[in-house]
Amino acid sequence: MLRREPLLPVLVVLLLGLAVSYHGFATVANVRNIAVQASPLIVAAVGMTYVIMTTGIDLSVGSMLFLAAAIETSRAVVGGPTAVVFAVVCAAGILMGLLNGVAVAFTRVPALIVTLATMQVFRGAGGHVTGQQNIDLPANLRGIGTASLLGVPVPVLIAAAVALGSGMVFSRTTFGRYVQAVGSSPDAARNAGLPVRGVLVGTYVLAGLLAAVASLTQTARLGAVQPSIGQGYELTVITAVVLGGTSLFGGRGSIGGTVLGALVLTTVQTGLVFSGASPYVFDIVRGSVLLVAVLAAGARWRSLARAMFVPNSRRELS
């Protein structure tokens, strides 16, 4: 387990350190607080994990989150039954993901460029729908972010269900294996007859759907849609994924690692408030965590390169 998820001991040490250092940190209420705050990030980051596994990237996740929230509060949707509103928002997420996926899979334009463009398109569309105004969310749509079921907050239940379901898909289904194969070597996957384009579209659709689900819980927690929702969120989501051990070069990663990455980020954020750190320290720590994650990813890449290089050298010597 430790070998598969090296971030787990990091999270445990972090939690223990903060619990010992700060009175009030190790309480049920605070654990609940951290879990609720991490939930939307976990949901969005799980979707991003699939995308990054295929050597892709989705910079539009924050804008999808905003557009989904804007659609939720639009006049045409907000008055409907709760289940219908949620279904419409999820459908919107699927469509946004489909647009990204088709553009990435059927053109040779890099995912970075495609999703950079759609990031602006989705944010602009969200601004158009909301008129850049703050819009309160009606009470019936807030439960998904604020209610509890058997004492467990609903966002936490959703995040757990998404993580478990996605983990199962990742490790036990043909689609999951295809994702890993496409990420490891797209050319080899194509030569082996795998539906590479279909897999790519599927990962972006999943990312869009999960961004919409994250939006439902996040907006419900906020109680209102605001024009700046989701701005810069892509950086936090990608940090959680990379910190969790998913390779930016594709082919390797885990849903469990991503969940741990999101929990570490949220715990650090909470710990900073408990520490009474200067507001300037927050940015330094956030940036350092991203730097550590990227350096760790680079180190793993170098290890892989070394592993590939050494046998060749030995063959040449022998």
Binding site: T107, T146, Q269
Partner: protein, 335 residues
Amino acid sequence: LKRFGVARCLAAVAAATLAVGACSSTTDSPGSGGSGSGGKHTIGVSFDLLNAIRQAEKSSIQKAADAAGYDVTFAVADQDAQKQASQIQDLIQTKKVDAVIVIAQDGQQIASSASLAKARNVPFLAIDRAVADQGNVTFQITGDPVADGKAVAEEFLAAAKTTPLKVLELVGGLTDQNAIGRRDGFNNALAGQPNITIAAQVPTDWNPTQALDGTSNALQKDPSINAIYVPSDFLLPSVQSALTAAGRLAPIGDPKHVFLVTIDGDQNGCKAMQAKTLDADIATPVDEFGKQSVAAITTALGGKPVTPKSVQAKGLTLNQANYATTSSQVWGCGS
């Protein structure tokens, strides 16, 4: 290969369509252009973005321009300094407007646009956000963030006369002069006050989610916090959500009430004032921005020098004591 060629063509067409759409969709031009043909004068307006306060600022300019008999051509730069420079160039050179009012996305980069306006003899006015180099700026009117922060502190000092306050101070964007001014004005006025303790300072980067999480975390850390300084009304719903989750959102007079003061005077603030969950709001004088900038344009177009060249307008304090008499002057309470 043929298939990829078609796909590339489609992608290029889609990108071009999006680019054209993005450029054209953000310019709103009710007037017919400049007065080069001898008609009404036209003011070109370029905003950095469009949100609730910008909508109010747009209305105040339109109202003042209508009263003075000017047309207005309006553009939004979507927080892109390059786009704003292009839009201003278009306003001056193509639409030939008679004056330009900007809310700068970047106070440094806007200098080249001011320089272009000066070269074309077009009055260039900055509102809301300060411009670094004012050499080519005809007139500038902004809020006074330090004075606003001080006005918030005065509300805290008045409340602390009866109850000691343990304060959570939210801070806006740490690279934003407005946020820093509001923080410094507040902190300097409260330095050494015995009845007020700053329990936590939490950065929000003007992000509602960070404000929500930061407030929740601070209330977990110290449940005895009984006052919160919210540096902008648009973060107020986040703070209220965090207070609701903690069972602390209660009206004034309730023992659970958390003393709250904010800045801007938007609809969020006015609603919370009416519900008596907000103690005070320092309202940005949005109407003054429109009135004084259009008056400065009239002076400049008449060939006279505009004095003073720079004005900092303090916010208007709206609290529960003066709500009935003052709310009508607050931009967010009227709509």
